[in-house]
Point group: C2
Chain length 234, copies 2
DNA sequence: CCCTTATGCCAACGCCATTGACCTTACGCC
DNA sequence: GGCGTAAGGTCAATGGCGTTGGCATAAGGG
């Protein structure tokens, strides 16, 4: 049977590690984020984390049931970070845009971590707070309940989905991340007009646009559609 | 130095494995897809693949440079499957809807494999064909070139992003995949009305809707926005 | 101040991908 | 039809991984 994990708020004894550092959930998560940034999305290992914290890898199991549990904690930290200090303005479209862009930005700021967590539903505190905020904005805007739920679902999943996708390309090892303008040119602009005429004519525009995230555009289009329905119900 | 890999079309000798089966790229990829389905997205290992094919794990390195190379081959197979047999109807909105849903469906039909490949850009033949098709539909519909590129980018990334996200939840080990209605009830419906009033009032609707993919909704909203712009340029 | 037990540490297990050396047999050539 | 070559299957080994059970020790409540 696995060792029991004591929840952070119940922790009484704080016994320092042999080298003197005192562990905590917070410290572990922060260190994990650093390792992810430094060693890539597969660079977070119990052994490495133990090395970085100067403790035995097995000690981590006093704080998390396993690496997967730690992963979820990392995800919750990202969401918490995204909404810290946010407050609604009362203008529903601006508020939703802000929430979406903030969450997306928080994930993309830690692409290696986002890759591991963006598609996990944690049900933890920060995530619930974000959901409540989105629903509240929509209800106050005047959307009926079924429409609110419909839009909420599309909104939140689209945000997380783009966060994961955009993180994936950012987290690639820099060797294969020559996905800059030159890379796009060499892949798309050299296609012969005879076989791929549409790509050929669009190549310069594509080369410029594909370097950026499509999330802001997709978000605007989603909000366009919602606004139309608010004006013309049914 | 790693062993050289002979491309499939150059293969001359077909030496059977000790148990008599004759290997090929095709056979390996198909077996890999089966293993992924049976053992989950982390269940594809060289050892297991060797066991299933009745060959030594190291034999696989005669066919692929490594497991990552095999992963890309799997992704290529999925894309090919998505496009097989599609033809445009001339109605732009229906065509885009069909392309999006087909790609999304092909990935989600192999969620464990999709998880590994959906966010990898290959630039290979089938992917280029899909891009050309989307651009062609938009241009024929009458969108100006910059608008075409803008919508294309949002459309294709939205499709892939949702494919990855939806695959992720489908591919979870069945133990933690109690994300059915009961799970949603226990997570969301038990939140007190005092702290999370919006979630509380929406809980029944949420429990039903969150079980399905938000992609069709998000796709419709994107196409709504595009249609509006086509009618009212600028 | 003492006892309990939380918490850190150690050693070990069974996985994993990958490699280099070896061997055997299918095939192209004469 | 036989033969030499090298393609391709196999073996053994390396160093990494997550995770566990047992153990020692010191923190902190009483």
């Amino acid at each position: 049977m696995p060792k029991p994990v004591v929840p952070e708020e119940r922790r009484r004894r704080r016994r320092p590690t042999r080298s003197g550092t005192v562990l905590s959930e917070r410290l572990i998560v922060d260190t994990a984020l650093r390792l992810l940034r430094e060693h890539g999305s597969s660079g977070l290992t119990a052994r490495r984390l133990g090395l970085a914290l100067d403790c035995d890898p097995s000690t981590l199991y006093r704080y998390f049931r396993g690496m997967d549990d730690l992963t979820l904690a990392i995800g919750d930290a990202l969401i918490g970070q995204a909404l810290r200090g946010w407050a609604p303005t009362g203008r529903w479209r601006a508020d939703l845009e802000a929430i979406g862009l903030r969450i997306h930005a928080a994930y993309v700021a830690h692409p290696q971590a986002a890759l591991l967590t963006a598609s996990r539903v944690t049900g933890r505190a920060h995530e619930l707070a974000a959901d409540e905020a989105v629903l509240d904005v929509l209800r106050r805007a005047g959307f009926p309940l079924p429409e609110t739920v419909r839009i909420y679902h599309a909104f939140i999943d689209q945000t997380l989905a783009f966060a994961a996708l955009d993180s994936a390309s950012l987290a690639l090892p820099t060797a294969s991340q020559r996905a800059d303008e030159d890379q796009w040119r060499s892949t798309y602009a050299r296609l012969p007009r005879t076989t791929h005429p549409r790509i050929a004519e669009a190549a310069p525009l594509l080369a410029r646009r594909m370097l950026t995230s499509a999330y802001p555009t997709a978000l605007d289009m989603l909000l366009d559609s919602a606004a139309t329905r608010l004006e013309q119900p049914g």
